[in-house]
C-alpha cells in the first residue's frame, strides 16, 4: 500500500480541562475521501483544528504531500465559523450593522478581499471566475463583507478554498446556510477537485455529500472509528421529549389580527435594489415558510419586521396594527417578537453565559438585562431543563458546541412567549437528529396559538406546521401561497 498522505498517531487534546481527543490514530491514504460525522461535541472540529495547528495538541501529525501532484502542497481548513475584520482590524460588529449605511467603506468588498487572498496565495483571478459563477456569487463582487448574509459569507470561504486547490482540504460543516442549487454545484466542484488530486475530509452530518466520499468515520471517546457506511455513523440519541413549560402552553395575547403588513415596500442602496415592491400580510396564527436563494433579500425583509432596518421608516409597513414611524420605538416592536438568526448568533456578546443569554431575551438585548424578576427566573430554569441545558447554564455561551449554543439561543427566542416568532435558519449548525428534535418541539409549540415566520432551505428538514409560503428571488416575491401541510415540494 502507498504511503499515507496524512499520518496521525497518539493525538491528545484537552479543552478547558476536559479530554477531547485521547490517543487518536488516523491514516489517510491516496484515493481516500473521508466524511467524519457523529455526535455534537465529540471532537470533530477540534481534530480538524489540531491538524492545521489552530488548536494545541500533543502527538504526531505528519503530512506527506506529493510533489508530482498538480495541487498545492498544503492542508487547508475551512472553519464552520468565520470572522472577518474591518479595515482597522476591528471585530466589534453588531448584527444590525449591515443595514446601517454610514460605514460604507469600513470593511473590504468581496472583490477586494478575493484579490487580497489571491495575492497572498499567488493565484490567478481568472481561475476564480468559474467558481464564483457556479456558486451564484458573481453579483456580490462590490458588496462589502459586512453586508453579506450568512449564506454568502459561507460561499466566500468556500470560493477561496476551491480557488486555492490544496492537496488536503478539510471542510467543517460547509453546507451551513447554502441554498439548494449552490450546494449541488459545490459538491460537483469538490468531485472535480478530488479527481484532480485533492484529498477531501468533510465534517458533516449531511446526507447529500460529494460522490467522491468513500470513507466514513465518527469520533467516540476521543478516538476515530471508521465505519463501512454513512448510515453507521453514530448520531445523537433521540432526545427525550419533555412536556413544554406551562407558560409556553399559553397563547400569547395578540395586539392586532394582522401582525405584519407590507404594501409595495422597496429597499435600495444607491443603484442596488434589494427588495422590490414587496406586499405581504401575516395574520395572527399563521405559520409562514420564507424561502429564496442566498442573497434574495430574506434577511433584509426580516430586518424590516424586527425594527433593525433604518429604511423601514418612510415606507408602508404596519406592524401589530401600527404604521412604522408613527412614534413607536424599536423596543416596543422587539418586545412583541422573538427572533433568532445566524447573524444574531455570530455577533452575540462573548461574555454572556448561557443563563444570561436566555435572560436577555426578556429585554431584547444582547446578553445584558436589567433585573430579572422571580417569575422570570423560574421560567428560565424551566426552559433550561426543557432544552437539557441545566448543567451548562453558567458556562460561557460561545464555549459550548455549536448545536448547544443554538438551543440556548432558541430558548432566548421563546422565553417571553412573544406574539410573533421569527426563526431565520434556526437549525443552522444543528445536526440531523437535533434538527428533527427541534422541529418536533416547534410543531408542538405552534399548536399553542403561536404565529411564526420560518426561514429554511431544505424541504426535508422543515417542521410540519408551516401552512403558508413566501418565496423571494432577486428581491421580488415569486410565490405567495397557502401550503399543504407536510408537502415535500421541490
Amino acid at each position: 500500500m502507498a504511503n499515507p498522505i496524512v499520518h496521525i498517531a497518539n493525538l491528545n487534546l484537552q479543552y478547558a480541562g476536559t479530554t477531547v481527543l485521547c490517543d487518536l490514530n488516523w491514516r489517510i491514504y491516496p484515493g481516500e475521501h473521508w466524511i467524519i460525522g457523529g455526535k455534537s461535541g465529540s471532537g470533530k472540529s477540534s481534530l480538524a483544528k489540531a491538524m492545521v495547528k489552530q488548536e494545541k495538541a500533543s502527538g504526531e501529525i505528519i503530512f506527506r504531500f506529493d510533489q508530482s501532484n498538480p495541487m498545492l502542497a498544503q492542508a487547508y481548513y475551512v472553519a464552520n465559523w468565520y470572522q472577518f475584520a474591518n479595515l482597522e482590524g476591528d471585530r466589534n460588529f453588531y448584527y444590525q450593522q449591515r443595514y446601517n449605511k454610514q460605514q460604507r467603506n469600513d470593511t473590504l468588498t468581496v472583490y477586494a478581499d478575493l484579490i487580497h487572498f489571491g495575492k497572498k496565495q499567488q493565484l490567478d483571478f481568472r481561475d476564480a471566475e468559474p467558481i464564483l459563477e457556479a456558486l451564484g456569487f458573481g453579483n456580490c463582487r462590490e458588496t462589502q463583507l459586512i453586508e453579506l448574509s450568512s449564506g454568502e459569507h459561507k460561499k466566500l470561504q468556500l470560493v477561496q478554498a476551491l480557488w486555492l486547490r490544496p492537496q488536503l482540504l478539510i471542510l467543517d460543516e460547509p453546507y451551513t446556510g447554502l441554498d439548494k442549487r449552490s450546494r449541488e454545484n459545490f459538491n460537483s466542484l469538490l468531485d472535480d477537485m478530488a479527481n484532480a488530486g485533492t484529498t477531501l475530509v468533510l465534517i458533516s452530518n449531511d446526507r447529500n455529500i460529494p460522490d467522491a466520499i468513500n470513507r466514513f468515520a465518527h469520533i467516540e471517546n476521543g478516538q476515530l472509528h471508521a465505519v463501512s457506511h454513512l448510515d453507521e455513523i453514530k448520531q445523537d440519541e433521540q432526545r427525550q421529549r419533555k412536556p413544554f413549560p406551562y407558560f409556553l402552553q399559553q397563547a400569547p395575547l395578540v395586539d392586532h389580527d394582522t401582525m405584519v403588513e407590507l404594501r409595495n415596500v422597496s429597499v435600495r442602496y444607491g443603484e442596488k435594489e434589494v427588495l422590490k415592491n414587496i406586499s405581504w400580510q401575516v395574520k395572527a396564527g399563521e405559520k409562514w415558510l420564507l424561502q429564496g436563494p442566498n442573497g434574495s433579500g430574506k434577511s433584509t425583509l426580516l430586518s424590516l419586521l424586527n425594527g433593525d432596518h433604518p429604511q423601514a421608516y418612510a415606507t408602508d409597513i404596519f406592524l401589530f396594527g401600527k404604521k412604522r414611524g408613527s412614534g413607536e420605538s424599536i423596543w416596543d416592536i422587539k418586545q412583541k417578537i422573538g427572533i433568532i438568526s445566524p447573524e444574531l448568533h455570530w455577533y452575540f456578546d462573548k461574555n454572556a453565559t448561557v443563563w444570561h443569554a436566555i435572560a436577555s431575551g426578556f429585554y431584547d438585548s444582547v446578553g445584558w438585562f436589567i433585573q430579572v424578576k422571580y417569575e422570570e427566573k423560574k421560567q428560565i430554569e424551566q426552559l433550561l431543563d426543557f432544552f437539557d441545558l441545566l448543567q451548562d447554564k453558567d458556562k460561557l455561551l460561545h464555549t459550548l458546541p455549536l448545536g448547544k449554543q443554538r438551543l440556548a439561543l432558541l430558548a432566548r427566542t421563546i422565553i417571553k412567549n412573544p406574539q410573533l416568532l421569527i426563526l431565520d435558519e434556526p437549525c443552522q449548525g444543528l445536526d440531523r437528529s437535533q434538527t428533527a428534535h427541534f422541529n418536533a418541539v416547534l410543531d408542538e409549540l405552534s399548536g399553542y396559538g403561536k404565529t411564526l415566520i420560518y426561514v429554511g432551505h431544505y424541504e426535508s428538514q422543515l417542521p410540519a406546521c408551516l401552512d403558508n409560503r413566501l418565496v423571494l428571488e432577486k428581491g421580488e416575491v415569486v410565490i405567495s401561497e397557502r401550503r399543504e401541510k407536510n408537502s415535500i415540494a421541490g
Partner: protein, 493 residues
C-alpha cells in the same frame, strides 16, 4: 464674545464647576415622553450626528437633518448618510423654523458660524442642544433668551453610541442645562428624554453643567488621555530601540500594550490594573509612578490653571484664526516619529506579557490618571466629573492608538484635544529627560520578573495596596462602575 466663565463671580464659578450628580434610573421613568411628537432637527450628519439620529428615531422620535445648501447640492457624505437612511433632509431655511429642538452636532470649530446661521431661524421658545460646551463657555456665545440651551454628551465615539444602543445598552452620558437659558424650565425634561432616546440611561448619566463639562473635558483630554499616552508611548519606544530591543517588537508592544493595560483599568480601576503585575513588579511600578507624579505635577497644574483662566482656549483660538499653523505643524511632526514609522512586528505577544514587559506604561497610566484626577478635584471639579474625564476615557483613547498609532489618535479626537495634546507632549518630554536616563529594559521591553524570585516585604506590599485602593479615584470609581450596569468590553481587537 467674552469668555463666559470669566464673566461670572467666583461663587457662581464654583457653583457651576461643582455640578456632578449621578442620576438614579428612576429619574428616567418618563422615557422619551418630553420630546414625543416634537420636531427635532439635527445639524450635522457626521459620526455623532448620524448615529445619535438613528438612535433617537428608533426610540420613536421625529428626526430630520438640516444641512448647508452646498452639502446638499454637492451630495456630500453628510447628505448621503442622512438620505440613505430614509431621513428627511433640508436646508437650514427649510427645516430650522419648524424645529422644537435643534441638535447641534457639528465640530467645535464650526459652532460659532453654525449658531449664527441657525439662531435667527429658530422659532420663539425652541430649544438648542450641544454635545460639548466649548462654544458657550470659552467662546461666550450668547443665545437668544427665549431659547432653552441644553447639553447631552455621550462619552464615546458615534459608532459606539449606535452599536451599544442596538445591543440594548448605551454609553455613559453627561447632561446639562445652561442656567442662562432655561426660560420655561423644560431644559431638564428635554435633556433627560434626549438621553433616553440615545440609550445613555442604561449606562450611567451624570448631571453636570456646561462649565464643569468644558473645564474637566479639556483637562482630561490634554493631560492623561492624549498628552501622556503620546509622551509615554514615544519615550518607551525610543528607549527600547536605544537599548537594542527589536524595533518591530517595540512597536507592537507600544501600539497594543496601552490598550491591553487600560482594559484592566476599565474593569478594576488603578488597583485592578496594578493587580495584573507580580508583587515585586507592582511595588516597582508603584515606586516609579510616585516619582513620575512628583515630576509631572507642576505641568498638570499649569494645564489646569490655563484652562480655568481661559488662557488655553485664547491661544488655541488664535491658532484657529491663523489657519491652524501650529496645529498642522505639530500634527506633521507626530507623523514623523520613529514609533509612527516602524510597523508592528509579526510577533505574538500574550496578554500577560504586555504587563510584564511594559511596566513603565502601567506606571505612566497610574501617575497620569491619579494626577489628572487630583488636579481637577483641587480646582473645584467634583470627583464624579473628574473620574469620567480621566480614568473612564483612557481605555477609549488607548483603543485608537491600537488601531493606527498616535497619528490615528490625533485624527480621531477633536481639534481641541489634539491642540492641547501637543502642548502637553512638548512640555512633558524635557521634564522627563533625567528620569528616562535611569530607565532600562527591565521596565520596558523585557520581563521585569526575569531572574527575580518573587519575594517581597509583606509590610511594604500591604502599604502599597492600601495606598492604591484608598485613592479617591478608586473610591468614586467603584461606585460609578457599579452603576454602569452595562459595562462591558467596549472595543477589543
Amino acid at each position: 464674545m467674552a469668555n463666559y466663565f470669566n464673566t461670572l463671580p467666583l461663587r457662581e464659578q464654583l457653583e457651576q464647576l461643582s455640578h456632578a450628580e449621578f442620576m438614579e434610573t428612576a429619574e428616567f421613568a418618563d422615557g422619551v415622553n418630553a420630546l414625543k411628537g416634537k420636531k427635532i432637527v439635527i445639524v450635522g450628519a457626521g459620526a455623532q450626528g448620524l448615529n445619535q439620529g438613528l438612535n433617537l428615531r428608533d426610540s420613536g422620535l421625529d428626526i430630520s437633518y438640516a444641512l448647508r445648501k452646498e452639502a446638499i447640492e454637492q451630495k456630500r457624505d453628510s447628505w448621503k448618510n442622512a438620505t440613505d437612511n430614509n431621513f428627511t433632509v433640508g436646508t437650514y431655511d427649510e427645516l430650522i423654523p419648524t424645529a422644537d429642538l435643534v441638535i447641534n452636532l457639528t465640530p467645535d470649530k464650526q459652532h460659532t458660524a453654525v449658531i449664527n446661521a441657525v439662531m435667527p431661524l429658530m422659532k420663539q421658545g425652541a430649544a438648542l442642544s450641544y454635545s460639548h460646551g466649548f462654544n458657550i463657555v470659552e467662546e461666550g456665545m450668547q443665545i437668544r433668551k427665549d431659547i432653552t440651551v441644553l447639553m447631552v454628551a455621550p462619552k464615546c465615539p458615534g459608532s459606539e453610541v449606535r452599536a451599544e444602543y442596538l445591543r440594548g445598552f448605551g454609553v455613559p452620558t453627561l447632561i446639562a442645562v445652561h442656567p442662562e437659558n432655561d426660560p420655561e424650565g423644560k431644559g431638564w425634561p428635554y435633556a433627560k428624554a434626549y438621553c433616553v432616546g440615545t440609550g445613555g440611561h442604561h449606562a450611567g448619566v451624570l448631571k453636570s453643567s456646561f462649565v464643569a463639562e468644558v473645564k474637566s473635558d479639556l483637562m482630561g483630554e490634554q493631560t492623561i488621555l492624549c498628552g501622556l499616552l503620546q509622551t509615554g508611548s514615544i519615550l518607551s519606544f525610543d528607549k527600547m530601540v536605544e537599548k537594542g530591543i527589536d524595533a518591530g517588537y517595540a512597536s507592537k508592544l507600544v501600539q497594543y500594550g496601552v490598550e491591553v493595560i487600560t482594559e484592566a483599568l476599565k474593569h478594576g480601576g488603578v488597583s485592578g490594573m496594578l493587580d495584573r503585575l507580580s508583587n515585586p513588579a507592582k511595588i516597582k511600578a508603584f515606586q516609579i509612578s510616585e516619582e513620575l507624579k512628583d515630576i509631572m505635577r507642576p505641568l498638570f497644574q499649569k494645564h489646569q490653571d490655563d484652562i480655568m483662566s481661559g488662557e488655553f482656549s485664547k491661544t488655541m483660538m488664535e491658532d484657529w484664526a491663523n489657519g491652524d499653523v501650529n496645529l498642522l505643524k505639530w500634527r506633521a511632526e507626530t507623523g514623523e516619529t520613529a514609533f509612527e514609522k516602524t510597523p508592528a512586528g509579526d510577533v505574538k505577544i500574550g496578554d500577560q506579557e504586555y504587563f510584564d514587559n511594559y511596566l513603565l506604561m502601567v506606571a505612566f497610566v497610574r501617575a497620569g490618571v491619579e494626577l489628572a484626577f487630583e488636579t481637577m478635584v483641587e480646582a473645584g471639579i467634583k470627583p464624579e466629573s473628574a473620574y469620567y474625564e480621566s480614568l473612564h476615557e483612557t481605555p477609549l483613547i488607548a483603543n485608537t492608538i491600537a488601531r493606527k498609532k498616535l497619528f490615528e489618535m490625533n485624527r480621531v479626537i477633536s481639534d481641541t484635544a489634539e491642540y492641547g495634546c501637543y502642548l502637553f507632549d512638548q512640555a512633558c518630554k524635557p521634564l522627563l529627560a533625567d528620569f528616562m536616563k535611569k530607565v532600562d529594559t527591565d521596565l520596558v521591553g523585557k520581563n521585569f520578573n526575569e531572574g527575580k524570585d518573587g519575594s517581597v516585604d509583606n509590610v511594604q506590599l500591604v502599604q502599597v495596596n492600601e495606598i492604591l485602593r484608598s485613592h479617591p479615584v478608586e473610591i468614586v470609581g467603584v461606585k460609578l462602575r457599579k452603576a454602569m450596569t452595562a459595562m462591558k468590553a467596549i472595543k477589543t481587537a
